[in-house]
Symmetry: C2
């Protein structure tokens, strides 16, 4: 559990959660336990996604994948236990957040990673391997596999920070664009960078015949699409205090321009 | 998810939860969403435990195991999604329970199935295969693999029903004995019944060289131990209203005398 959780990574999800809490006037400390839990949930999903029967990945965050180091049985359990720990952590460590807000956080997070969220995306992703995939199907995969959890990150941040439904709607749309943006950039990096630069196996999408944006729309159009998504995300932040929205502005720029 | 969840099974865990809620004066309807969620959690753990890299089981609840029918990748995801759904179900369906009680329920359940609970038991169980295992190690396995979640079932029931800390302590000890009893009887059945009678592969413990009570203490002593555990469990119920405790009494008898 420690090996994968503390292996680094961009920590985009916890940052999104904390930045959204601050966006609506909440303190960082309120969001911290939930931000940590979200990183546990994300890591749990990575451990299981890397399995031989799933994406079959050997490299993650610049290190050998969990099952490569500890074996498959331990990796199954490490993923399960990280998922449990995430919920335990929220229930036990977020003492300064009112229980009714915590229950809403549980609802958001668990729904984002379940059969109508992350798991749906991963399933369709695996089933689409080697097949011709339309843009619409590709979007389904990434909305579910990536964007839903990012959405949950910002919505949880807003809930904890005491934001209203209108705030929730704006950050939810922001996160949806960020989620797609994240994946489009991921796909572009996969074909333009080396494994060493990425910290995970590069060129994998080509080898595995997986649907990607560069493959479906070409590399230049994919880059234009990324720029469009970034701008759409930024527009959602217009109604917020500029200083408080600054971290979310910069995060969108960072995601669009990241090199690994 | 439906295939494994709705495949039958004894439903001991949800029954424990509902009976404990009623034990302290709560209504069945209050406990129902949590009881359902607990069965989802239990089923999720069974799906993952049956994997080739884990217990490698072909038969469960009288049907082929999940990965045998749907493949390993779907089975990994079905387990993950059932675990998520359990938490989502509690957060969204238990509207009649106060949020502070729900947060305590989340804490109990997630801690019971994590790295200090179910996962710890499963890990030591797998690692002990083919080795000589002491009674103490065997008890560690079963306390963690089985009893911790049963404990959580009754404690959650008491929390939801509005019981006090003293009630909690009594049912927790009751569940600990029930948990061990459950496993001792499981081990006895494994060597005395057929696969058809059990609905899962019989004689598996012998083949896989796994530590069991009949193996460590002999079949007769194991039966005596089961009787002792049942009586210890029943003693914990003495301080409760007899009528309200009746389901838990009968459940202990049922577990001690079950034939599959």
């Amino acid at each position: 559990m420690r090996y994968s959780l503390l292996a680094g990574g961009k920590r985009v999800r916890p940052i999104l959660c904390i930045a959204s809490c601050e966006l609506v006037g909440g303190d960082e400390s309120l969001a911290m336990p939930i931000a940590c839990a979200i990183e546990m949930i994300h890591t749990a999903s990575l451990i299981h996604d890397d399995f031989p029967c799933m994406d079959n990945d050997d490299l993650r965050r610049g290190k050998p994948t969990n099952h490569k180091v500890f074996g498959e049985s331990t990796a199954v359990l490490a993923g399960d236990a990280l998922l449990s720990l995430a919920f335990e952590y929220i229930a036990c460590k977020a003492n300064n957040v009112s229980p009714d807000r915590l229950v809403r956080v549980f609802a958001e997070l668990s729904s984002a990673i379940g059969s109508k969220g992350l798991v749906a995306g991963q399933l369709v992703d695996i089933e689409s391997e080697g097949k011709v995939v339309s843009l619409k199907e590709l979007e389904f995969i990434h909305v579910h596999k990536t964007a839903k959890l990012l959405e949950a990150c910002v919505v949880c941040g807003v809930i904890i920070g005491g934001g209203n439904d209108n705030n929730n709607e704006k950050v939810r749309i922001y996160a949806r664009f960020i989620g797609l943006l994240f994946q489009v950039v991921d796909d572009i990096l996969d074909v333009t960078k080396s494994s060493m630069e990425l910290g995970k196996t590069a060129g994998k999408d080509l080898v595995s015949n997986k649907a990607t944006y560069p493959k479906v729309m070409g590399i230049d159009e994919a880059k234009n699409f990324a720029y469009h998504l970034m701008n759409q995300a930024l527009q959602q932040l217009a109604c917020f205090d500029t200083a408080k929205a600054a971290p979310l502005y910069h995060l969108a720029y960072y995601i669009a321009n990241r090199q690994n």
